[in-house]
């Protein structure tokens, strides 16, 4: 590659950034540097809290409220962005430097039509007239393969789906044909089939206009498709930087290697259950609705003792609703849920304590699932008392046992509040709370999706160990197929409230599939920089993502 011949566009030198927290300035970025040439794409990766977004925004000369640049320099095309006046920076922002945010749904103003927001930058910066900018916007919508490009811009943000909004936001960033775009996790909030389409669109348009980009993400496989070079950050420190292929093939630093290794966790498949075995939980022909809106249609699957059933599907496919039916939070209209061959009452009010005990849940957001005002000992102690009838010293003993089980030191954690725990530790407390009821069956609702990969892997290993020791059955709700591959015994694929395919994991990851399962599987990015290119070449842009879903 002759990238090094191109002129330098952005140069950040030894930048130190701090954030204000309780009257104290804490470091966010400790002396990072980066150089970006015209037309080059740099991937910034790291876990949450690594300072990726802060560094990305600093490249625009922008800091959020409560954040300041302590020292260092940011130069954009010869302009010192730290010393520049607000007016000088405003003149560059939107016109020569643009930003694409993580959540397009939150970053489009709900009060204005898409096209009005699109033309704002070109009109305010006097780049083109409003009518020219409108025509250009429609042209960009067409290039980004948005449906109804002539008309979609005249809708309000709430009338457009998430993946389409993300593409419209990329179009908006392109409206002045900037030299640099900062992409801040643009596909993290999207489903895999939607993500692939957005990735293809972004890559296509960045290449067409020879735009330089900083692509921020925590997903290695995604960054492998997008970036020429990758820079790894850890808690505000630079770890290493290299060309994408070099980085993927031979990461140098231990931390980088550990990131790469996360996906290697996989459990050996368990032998199939006996044909005549009674499943622990049997969901039979469930139909359910929210009010008049039907959400589940004839859903059936079994969960056997000691096994993990992964329920996969995109947002809105009915995964969590199925869990609500099993726990009795949403009584079904038709069908039965059986526990060890006995039908459970549909409404949890009508279930007795023994029946309630058997269906425990672990939630996605441990933050909101734990009462912030109660210490850990009390959070875990409540179900111990409620289900097991233990009090006083015996209760405290049992809580300590449970904390040991989830690998948290009891003396250290029993009196802490949830706010004094990290995300992974909170999720462990959630697991301990479910275990306190001593159930045979636990529903895990996206328990790892809010966690960084290393932490998520720790949680998966813990769940696997508990299953081996206690013979627990899991219903594991997820949209992440790598997680499925790691821990599932059986897979149930759901779409629009229906089960489209189910079977043992080994079969599910081997063709032939139901076309939807195939689409889901093929949409998961792989750690191969040519994956997206090859896939597009193989299938054509018409047969990926939502376009393919719509054809079904």
């Amino acid at each position: 590659m002759s990238e090094t011949d191109k002129p330098v566009l952005v140069e950040i030198k030894d930048i130190w950034i701090e954030g204000r927290s309780d009257e104290e300035w804490l470091p966010i970025i400790n002396g990072a540097s980066l150089t970006l040439r015209k037309g080059e794409v740099l991937g910034l990766i790291g876990e949450s809290g690594a300072g990726k977004s802060t560094l990305g925004l600093a490249a625009m000369g922008y800091t959020r409220d409560g954040v300041r640049i302590k020292s260092g320099s940011v130069t954009f095309d010869g302009v010192d962005l730290i010393a520049a006046s607000a007016a000088t920076k405003r003149d560059l922002l939107g016109k020569r430097i643009a930003y694409v945010a993580q959540s397009a749904a939150a970053s489009f103003n709900p009060a204005h039509k898409l096209i009005d927001q699109h033309v704002e930058a070109p009109v305010q910066h006097h780049v083109t007239s409003k009518s020219e900018a409108t025509d250009d916007g429609i042209e960009l919508y067409r290039r980004l393969r948005l449906p109804n490009p002539d008309e979609i811009g005249f809708r309000y943000p709430h009338q457009v789906s998430g993946g389409q909004l993300q593409r419209a936001m990329t179009a908006m960033a392109m409206s002045c044909r900037p030299d640099l775009i900062i992409f801040d996790e643009p596909t993290t909030a999207l489903d895999v089939t939607t993500q692939i389409e957005v990735l293809a669109a972004i890559r296509d348009i960045v290449e067409q206009f020879d735009t330089a980009a900083i692509y921020i993400t925590h997903d290695l496989a995604v960054v492998a498709q997008m970036a020429d070079r990758i820079k790894v950050l850890l808690k505000g420190d630079e770890v290493e930087e290299a060309d994408t292929r070099v980085m993927l093939e031979s990461p140098k630093d231990d931390y980088t290697k550990s990131l790469w290794a996360v996906r290697s966790f996989e459990r050996p498949a368990k032998p199939a259950p006996a044909v005549d075995a009674t499943p622990v939980v049997s969901v039979q022909n469930i139909t359910a609705a929210y009010g008049k809106l039907p959400v589940l249609h004839d859903v059936s699957f079994d969960i056997h003792a000691g096994r993990t059933v992964a329920v996969v599907g995109e947002s809105g496919s009915g995964k969590s609703t199925t869990a609500r039916v099993i726990t009795g939070l949403l009584p079904q209209l038709e069908g039965v849920v059986e526990f060890k061959g006995e039908a459970l009452p549909a409404d949890y009010h009508k279930r007795d304590r023994m029946q309630l005990r058997q269906a425990q849940m672990i939630y996605q957001m441990a933050d909101t699932a734990l009462n912030p005002r109660k210490p850990i000992g009390e959070i875990i102690g409540r179900p111990v008392e409620f289900y097991m009838g233990l009090r006083g010293r015996k209760k405290r003993e049992r809580v300590r046992e449970l904390l040991n089980e989830i690998e948290l030191e009891p003396d250290q954690f029993i009196d802490r509040l949830p706010s004094e725990l990290s995300g992974g530790q909170k999720q462990r407390v959630g697991i301990a709370r479910a275990l306190a009821a001593e159930p045979e069956f636990i529903i895990c609702d996206e328990v790892t999706s809010a966690l960084d990969q290393l932490v998520a892997e720790g949680i998966l290993r813990l769940l696997a160990r508990l299953q081996d020791e206690r013979g627990l059955s899991y219903m594991f709700i997820t949209h992440d197929l790598a997680t499925v591959n790691a821990i599932a015994d059986e897979v149930v694929v759901m779409k629009d409230g229906r089960v489209v395919e189910q079977g043992p994991k080994a079969d599910m990851f081997r063709p032939p599939h139901h076309p939807y399962t195939d689409l889901l599987l093929s949409s998961v990015p792989e750690m191969d920089p040519d994956w997206l290119t090859d896939l597009l070449a193989e299938r054509g842009v018409e047969n990926i993502g939502d376009a393919a879903v719509d054809k079904m």
Binding site: R64, K89, R90, D91, G94, N109, E120, Q124, Y156
Partner: protein, 334 residues
């Protein structure tokens, strides 16, 4: 049907229901005031026969439920009744039918007063609402600056002072020390508009000082509340000027709470201005109301209460509908 239309109709029906409930409360409350008109007018030495005669003439001897429905029926047909105090007693004994002039009705009595009150409220609103919005927007734009603090302290001091005090301060500066405006607002029917406006200005300014603080502070708070939103950050990252960010991106999303506070303050301008009316001798509905309560002139009191309640409900209803209309999710469903 369009969802907005459906919501508006729902709110309208709910408003009518509220008005009905309020009419019951008014009737019960007014009728449980101690003493009655007959005793008030005849004084301590009245004979029981005379009191009973007047009570019978005015229909006060009927059971309360009958009187309520009679009153409600009259209200619905637009007949506000006849003021006790203005009544020609001859009319009750059956001779007034031929007398020609007839008694003064409550409607005739209230109408000019109500018109004056609306005029004062209108003038105040025209000054106060744009001023509060502008001040609120500027305070949000230059938050924590000297301007922001000054505007906050000034408006808070104004709202914390008693109305009569503000009124006298304004009279002192604008009518006595610098005689620019008249201190008496004795307006009458047929007065030319300009003259009327001139005389109304001082009470209107007093009321402006009273209502500005809340509207301004709500505008400021509602806008600042939104400044941390991702779409505001997006607008800033597009290089949009700070003023445009606030007016174009924050304000349209902050309208609902602002509209509601404006409606509450406008309702106050109609129903709560009696002190200011007294200070400036302004012939509004507030004074009439207070006098009627003193005289136990039940038809006038009830009609005033109903008008106040109606104004409150109507303004809140309008605020509701406007808030709904300011939400594009409801205006343009999927």
């Amino acid at each position: 049907m369009h969802p907005v239309l459906k919501i508006v109709i729902q709110r309208l029906l709910l408003g009518l229901l509220t008005l009905l409930a309020v009419s019951i409360i008014i009737f019960v409350a007014v009728n449980s005031l101690p003493g009655d008109f007959a005793q008030a007018i005849l004084g301590q030495s009245a004979t029981p026969e005379a009191v009973a005669a007047i009570r019978r003439d005015l229909g006060l001897d009927q059971p309360a439920v009958t009187r309520y429905f009679q009153w409600l029926g009259d209200m619905l047909t637009g007949n506000l009744g006849i003021s006790f105090a203005q009544a020609n007693f001859a009319s009750f004994v059956g001779t007034s039918a031929e007398s020609g002039s007839g008694p003064v009705t409550v409607a005739q009595q209230i109408a000019p007063r109500f018109e004056n009150t609306m005029f004062l409220a209108g003038v105040t609103a025209v000054i106060a609402v744009p001023m509060s919005l502008t001040l609120g927007i500027l305070a949000a734009l230059f938050r924590n600056s000297v301007f922001d603090r000054t505007a906050n302290i000034a408006s808070l001091s104004a709202v914390s002072s008693p109305e009569f005090f503000l009124a006298y301060i304004l009279i002192l500066f604008l009518a006595v020390l610098h005689p620019i405006l008249p201190s008496l607002s004795n307006i009458y029917e047929g007065m030319p508009f300009g003259e009327r406006l001139y005389r109304t200005l001082l009470p209107a300014l007093t009321l402006t000082l009273v209502v500005t603080a809340q509207m301004m502070r709500m505008t400021r708070a509602a806008i600042i509340n939104l400044l941390a939103s991702p779409y505001i950050e997006m607008a800033r990252l597009k290089g949009i000027s700070p003023m445009r960010v606030i007016v174009k991106h924050a304000l349209p999303n902050a309208l609902a709470p602002i509209i509601n506070v404006i409606a509450l303050n406008l309702a106050y301008l109609i129903t709560g201005v009696v002190v200011v009316e007294v200070v400036f001798v302004y012939p509004g509905i507030g004074q009439l109301f207070v006098d009627s309560v003193k005289n136990r002139d039940i038809p006038v009191v009830q009609a005033c209460c109903l008008i106040f309640a109606g104004a409150y409900i109507l303004l809140n209803l309008m605020a509701d509908v406007l808030s709904i209309l300011s939400n594009p999710r409801l205006r343009h469903p999927k």
